[in-house]
C-alpha cells in the first residue's frame, strides 16, 4: 500500500492504495464517484473517460498512483454551479444523445475535451474523435447531433424528426 494524493473535482483527497489500483477503481471504490463507468478490460470502450490535468484520459489505463498531484475531473463535476446541465450535457438531453446512459459519462467527457481543442468540429471529425467511445444504444446519430449542437452549429430540433 502507498499513499496517493490528488485533487478530484476541486477537492483534495488522499488515500492508501495498492500499486495495482487503477484510477477508475480509486474513483469508484475509494471515493464512491460511481458516475465514471467500467465497460471493458482492454481500454477500448471509453465508459471510464475522465479529465486528468485537463486532458481526456481513460481512467482504466492509469494507476491511481500515477495521478499523484494531478487535477482530476469526473462527470460529477460537469454541471453548472447551480446544478443545471452544462452546454454539452444539455445538448445530449435535447438531442436524445443517450439511452441507457452507461456510455454517457465517457461520451460527455470526451465531447468536452474535443470541443476544447476544436470548437466547431465537423461531423467526420466528431466521428473520428469518438473512435474510442463505444455506445451500443444510440447508433451514434444523436450523439453526433448533440455535440454539433453543443458547439453552436445549427441542428434541426428533435421534434422535427
Amino acid at each position: 500500500m502507498a499513499k496517493v494524493a490528488m485533487t478530484v473535482n476541486g477537492k483534495s483527497v488522499s488515500r492508501e492504495v495498492e500499486g495495482r489500483t487503477l484510477l477508475v477503481q480509486f474513483l469508484r471504490d475509494d471515493l464512491r464517484l460511481t458516475g465514471t463507468h467500467v465497460g471493458c478490460d482492454t481500454s477500448q470502450c471509453g465508459a471510464c473517460v475522465v479529465h486528468v490535468n485537463g486532458e481526456a484520459v481513460k481512467a482504466c489505463t492509469m494507476f491511481a498512483l500515477e495521478a499523484e498531484g494531478a487535477e482530476v475531473t469526473t462527470i460529477e463535476a460537469m454541471a453548472n454551479e447551480d446544478g443545471s446541465l452544462n452546454v454539452v450535457q444539455q445538448a445530449f438531453q435535447d438531442y436524445h444523445g443517450l439511452q441507457c446512459g452507461f456510455c454517457t459519462p465517457g461520451m460527455v467527457m470526451s465531447a468536452t475535451s474535443l470541443l476544447k481543442d476544436n470548437p466547431k468540429p465537423t461531423e467526420q471529425e466528431i466521428r473520428d474523435y469518438l473512435e474510442g467511445n463505444i455506445c451500443r444504444c444510440t447508433g451514434y446519430h444523436n450523439i453526433i447531433k448533440a455535440i454539433m449542437a453543443a458547439s453552436g452549429q445549427d441542428m434541426p430540433s428533435m421534434a422535427a424528426e
Partner: protein, 791 residues
C-alpha cells in the same frame, strides 16, 4: 395537449427524457454502483477448455490465502436445482426436446470455455482473484463439438453424456404444410436456392452483468440486485427452481440497467451463486463481470445455418418457401433459447408476402460453446435475413427489379392469416415502400453511383422489407407452444392524496425511456401534467408480478396494462366527483384535470377528488372504498405486427474490399406513437447493431472450441465512424387493432430490418463492378469482400 412538439407532455410529444438528468450528471444507480455494508467479492474460476472431465479441484492452497472467506465448487451445489429452461419445444415427431441439466457450478464436466468451475469469495476482489490462481484444476480435455454439422455426426463428441446425441430437437412447422410445399416447389416455374449463415453475435450491452446479494439473518429474507430486464422472472426462476426460496422471502431489484438487448433477460448462474453464497457466508456477496467474462458467459445470439428455397410461378408470384436451419443452442439451454429458432422464427417466414405454402425445419444442436439465446430481434432477424436475401437473389436470377418483385407479392388485405400460424391484424406495406423510396431518394441513386465510380469506387443499393411480431401472447396460446410462463403485464396506478401518481409497472427500462414515455400516456388520459406522474419499475418489492421487457413488448403489453389500470382510476374518481358535485355519475366528464357535470358549470379539480379519496369526510362510503389505487393485468389477444421497408447504400473500395455505409433509410409502421424522439432513437440503435452484424461483428470459435473473439480487440463493435446519419420515418401508421393504445412496438425493428439491405447493397455493388458474386456471408469484412472479388 400539444402534439409533435418538444414542449408537450402528452401522447405524440417528443418530450425530453427525465431520466437523462441523472445519467448526464453521474447520478445513475447501476448495479455496480450498489455496495452493501460488509460485502465480500466473488471471482469465478472458469474453464479454459471447451470440453473436459473434471478429475479434481484442489483448493487447499487457496483456502489459506489472505482474505478468503470460502471457496465453492460444483459439490456445494449437489442437490440444488440447476438453471431452468423456460420454454419446452415439441419436435416434429411429437417428442419433447432434450433438456440437459445446467448446474450453477460445473459438475463432472466442463462444457464451454467460460463454464464456471469454482468460485472464490474473499474480502476484496483482488484477494479473490489471487486465491483463484492458487486453485489447482485437474481437467482432462476432451474432443469438443463445435461445428453444428459435425456435432450431428454419429461419432461426434457428446456435449452431454446422458443424452443420446447432440440434437436438442428437430422441429417442423407447419408439419401439415410439408406435402403441399414440396409439391409447389416441384411444379414451380423458378426456384431460387440460397445457403447462408446468420453469424453468431455477442449482445454487448455496455454495462457488464453484475449481481449483489444480501441475506437477512433476522427474517431469512434475501435481496438480489441484478442487471436484469425482468426482475420478477428472475425471482420466480431462481427462487422456485434453483434455490427453493419462496417468493415472499426474495426481493429482486434491477435498478438502472445499462442496456440489455435480450442478454439480460435470462437467469444466470452468477446471480444464483451470489444469492446462495450470501446465506452460506452470512455476508453480502458481489460479482461484477469483466468484459472478458461477458464474452464467455453472457448468452450469445443468432448462429443459424440455413438453406432456403423460394418457388415462383411464371408470373413471378411466390408459391412456396421451404427452409432447413441448424440452430446453435450452445452447451446448455439458456432460459428462452428453444423458442428463438422455432416460434420466434418460423412464424415470421411469411414476411410481408402472400406465399401460400411455407414449411420450416429447424434442428437445434448442442455444441461446446456459450449458450445461445435471444438477442435483439431473436429469431425474427434470422427469418427476415434469409427471406429478404433469397428474394433479392431471385430478382437477380429473373432479371426483375427487386422492389417491383416485392411489391407484386405484398400482402394487401388484412387481417391476413399466414400459412405459418399467425394472423396479421393491420399493415400497409406499399405505403412504407413508397415512403422509403422518398426518404432514401432512390431516384437519385444512379447519379450517386456515377459519382462513386468517378472516384474509383463501386456503389450498391440494397432494399428489404421486414415484419416483426411483438408482444408475444396470449398466455394460453404461448402455453400450448411450450412457454412455461405467462406473457401478460401488470400495472398499479397509485394516486396519492395530493394528486401525484406513482405507476408501478412490470415493464423494465434499460434505455427505452419508460420513465418519460409512460407518464405521457397517463397524463393524456387524466389531463394532468406528466411531471405529476412517476414510473416505478425494477423492484419486486414495489410492484405486482410483471414479466419485464423484451420482444418490443413494453408499450403494447405493459402500456396497455397501465391504460387499463388508469381507466379503473378514472371510473372510481368519477364516482367520487359525482358525489362531491351531487350529480349523477353518468354526467361526469374529465377534461384537462377537471371533473365537470355535463351541461352545467359545476366542476371539481383532480386534486379535490384525490384528497377526498384519502380524507373521506364527504364521501360515498356506502358505495365505494376510500383510496385511489388500481391494478390491472393485461394479457393481449394477439401479437402486434410492426413492419417497414429499409434501404442501404454502400460504397465499396475495390482496392481493399472495404465497405462503407453511405446512406441508410428506414420507413417503419409502428402504429400509434407516444414519443417520436424515443422511437427514432430506438430505430437508430437497432440499425447500428444491424450494420454491425452485416459488416463487422462475428463471434468466432476455433475447431477446439476456443473463443477467438473474446474482447473488443477482436470483436468489432460498430463505432461512431462505422455508421452514417440515418434517415428514419414512422409516419406510416396503421394502428394495432387489438390493444387500447394502437401501438405495435419499435425496439427491435432496426436490428431486424437492416442486415439484409446491407448485404443486398454489397452484392449490388459487387455485381455493378462485374463480379459475379451471388451471395456473401456476414460480416462482409474487407477480407471476405476482397476474396470474393478475386473469384
Amino acid at each position: 395537449m400539444p402534439k409533435d412538439s418538444a414542449t408537450g407532455t402528452g401522447i405524440g410529444a417528443s418530450t425530453k427524457r427525465r431520466e437523462d438528468v441523472r445519467f448526464l450528471t453521474g447520478n445513475g444507480n447501476y448495479t455496480d454502483d450498489i455496495n452493501v455494508h460488509g460485502q465480500a467479492y466473488v471471482h469465478f474460476l472458469r474453464s479454459d477448455v471447451a470440453h473436459g472431465r473434471i478429475n479434481g479441484i484442489d483448493t487447499s492452497a487457496a483456502e489459506g490465502m489472505p482474505g478468503v472467506v470460502r471457496i465453492f465448487t460444483g459439490k456445494d451445489f449437489e442437490g440444488i436445482g440447476g438453471l431452468p429452461c423456460g420454454w419446452q419445444v415439441t419436435d416434429k415427431h411429437g417428442e419433447v426436446m432434450k433438456e440437459p441439466g445446467h448446474p450453477v457450478l460445473a459438475q463432472g464436466k466442463v462444457r464451454h470455455v467460460g463454464d464456471p468451475v469454482a468460485a472464490v469469495v474473499a474480502d476484496s476482489l483482488a484477494e479473490a482473484r489471487d486465491a483463484a490462481e492458487a486453485i489447482i484444476l485437474d481437467i482432462e480435455e476432451l474432443p469438443a463439438a463445435v461445428n453444428m454439422k459435425a456435432a450431428l455426426e454419429p461419432d461426434a463428441p457428446k456435449v452431454h453424456d446422458d443424452l443420446s446425441d447432440n440434437l436438442c430437437y428437430d422441429w417442423g412447422f407447419v408439419e401439415e404444410n410439408k406435402g403441399a410445399v414440396d409439391e409447389a416447389i416441384k411444379n414451380a416455374a423458378h426456384v431460387t436456392t440460397l445457403e447462408l449463415i446468420n453469424n453468431r453475435l455477442v449482445a454487448n450491452p455496455m454495462e457488464p452483468r453484475v449481481a449483489v446479494a444480501d441475506w437477512n439473518r433476522s427474517n431469512d429474507e434475501y435481496t438480489l440486485y441484478t442487471t436484469s430486464q425482468n426482475p420478477h422472472v428472475i425471482r420466480l426462476l431462481m427462487g422456485a427452481f434453483v434455490l427453493g426460496i419462496p417468493e415472499h422471502k426474495l426481493r429482486v431489484v434491477a435498478p438502472d440497467v445499462g442496456g440489455g438487448f435480450g442478454t439480460k433477460i435470462f437467469h444466470y448462474a452468477e446471480e444464483a451463486f451470489c444469492t446462495f453464497a450470501a446465506k452460506a457466508c452470512k455476508r453480502p456477496v458481489k460479482w461484477t463481470s469483466t468484459r472478458s467474462e461477458a464474452f464467455m458467459s453472457d448468452a450469445h445470439g443468432r448462429d443459424h445455418v440455413t438453406k432456403i428455397e423460394l418457388a415462383l410461378d411464371k408470373d413471378n408470384n411466390f408459391t412456396a418457401i421451404r427452409t432447413e436451419t441448424l440452430a446453435n443452442m450452445g452447451a446448455y439451454l439458456s432460459t428462452f433459447a428453444p423458442s428463438v429458432p422455432t416460434w420466434l422464427h418460423g412464424t415470421l417466414m411469411a414476411g410481408n408476402y402472400k406465399t401460400p405454402n411455407i414449411y420450416v425445419n429447424v434442428k437445434a444442436v448442442f455444441t461446446n460453446t456459450v449458450p445461445v439465446d435471444a438477442y435483439r430481434g431473436a429469431g425474427r432477424p434470422e427469418a427476415t435475413y434469409q427471406l429478404e436475401r433469397v428474394i433479392d437473389m431471385a430478382a437477380r436470377e429473373l432479371g426483375v427489379d427487386p422492389i417491383a418483385l416485392r411489391r407484386q407479392n405484398f400482402i394487401t388485405e388484412f387481417p391476413y392469416a399466414t400459412p405459418v400460424a399467425v394472423e396479421y391484424d393491420t399493415g400497409n406495406y406499399p405505403a412504407t415502400m413508397d415512403k422509403l423510396e422518398e426518404i432514401a431518394d432512390l431516384a437519385g441513386f444512379d447519379a450517386r453511383r456515377k459519382e462513386s465510380e468517378a472516384k474509383g469506387k463501386l456503389r450498391g443499393l440494397g432494399v428489404n422489407c421486414y415484419i416483426e411480431a411483438c408482444g408475444i401472447a396470449p398466455s394460453n396460446l404461448v402455453g400450448q407452444l411450450g412457454a412455461r410462463a405467462g406473457l401478460y403485464e401488470s400495472a398499479t396506478v397509485r394516486v396519492n392524496a395530493t394528486g401525484s401518481i406513482s405507476v408501478m409497472t412490470g415493464s423494465h427500462s434499460h434505455g427505452q425511456g419508460h420513465e418519460t414515455a409512460f407518464p405521457q400516456v397517463v397524463a393524456e388520459m387524466l389531463g394532468i401534467d406528466a411531471s405529476m406522474i412517476d414510473i416505478v419499475h425494477g423492484d419486486t418489492a414495489r410492484g405486482p408480478m410483471g414479466m419485464g421487457t423484451y420482444g418490443s413488448r413494453s408499450l403494447a403489453v405493459g402500456g396497455s396494462a397501465m391504460v387499463r389500470a388508469t381507466e379503473k382510476i378514472i371510473n372510481k374518481a368519477k364516482k367520487i366527483a359525482a358525489h362531491l358535485m351531487e350529480a349523477s355519475e353518468g354526467d361526469i366528464e374529465l377534461k384537462n384535470g377537471q371533473f365537470t357535470v355535463a351541461g352545467t358549470d359545476k366542476s371539481v379539480a383532480w386534486g379535490d377528488v384525490t384528497l377526498a379519496a384519502y380524507v373521506p369526510h364527504n364521501y360515498p362510503l356506502d358505495d365505494i372504498e376510500p383510496g385511489l389505487e388500481e391494478t390491472a393485468f393485461y394479457d393481449p389477444s394477439n401479437f402486434t405486427y410492426p413492419s417497414g421497408a429499409y434501404a442501404c447504400e454502400v460504397e465499396l473500395d475495390p482496392e481493399t474490399g472495404k465497405v462503407t455505409v453511405e446512406r441508410f433509410s428506414a420507413a417503419d409502421d409502428f402504429g400509434n406513437i407516444i414519443n417520436p424522439m424515443i422511437v427514432s432513437g430506438q430505430v437508430h440503435g437497432g440499425i447500428a447493431q444491424g450494420i454491425g452484424q452485416a459488416l463487422l461483428e462475428n463471434c468466432i470459435y476455433d475447431e477446439n472450441g476456443q473463443l477467438l473473439s473474446a474482447s473488443y480487440m477482436d470483436y468489432a463493435m460498430p463505432r461512431a465512424d462505422d455508421v452514417p446519419f440515418y434517415a428514419v420515418d414512422h409516419s406510416c401508421q396503421t394502428p394495432c387493432t387489438h390493444n387500447p393504445l394502437g401501438v405495435k412496438g419499435c425496439g427491435e425493428a432496426g436490428a431486424i430490418g437492416s442486415p439484409p439491405s446491407v448485404i443486398n447493397a454489397v452484392i449490388d455493388a459487387l455485381q455493378s463492378g462485374g463480379h459475379k458474386v451471388a451471395h456473401l456471408d456476414m460480416p462482409a469484412s474487407p477480407s471476405r469482400v476482397w476474396a470474393a472479388m478475386q473469384g
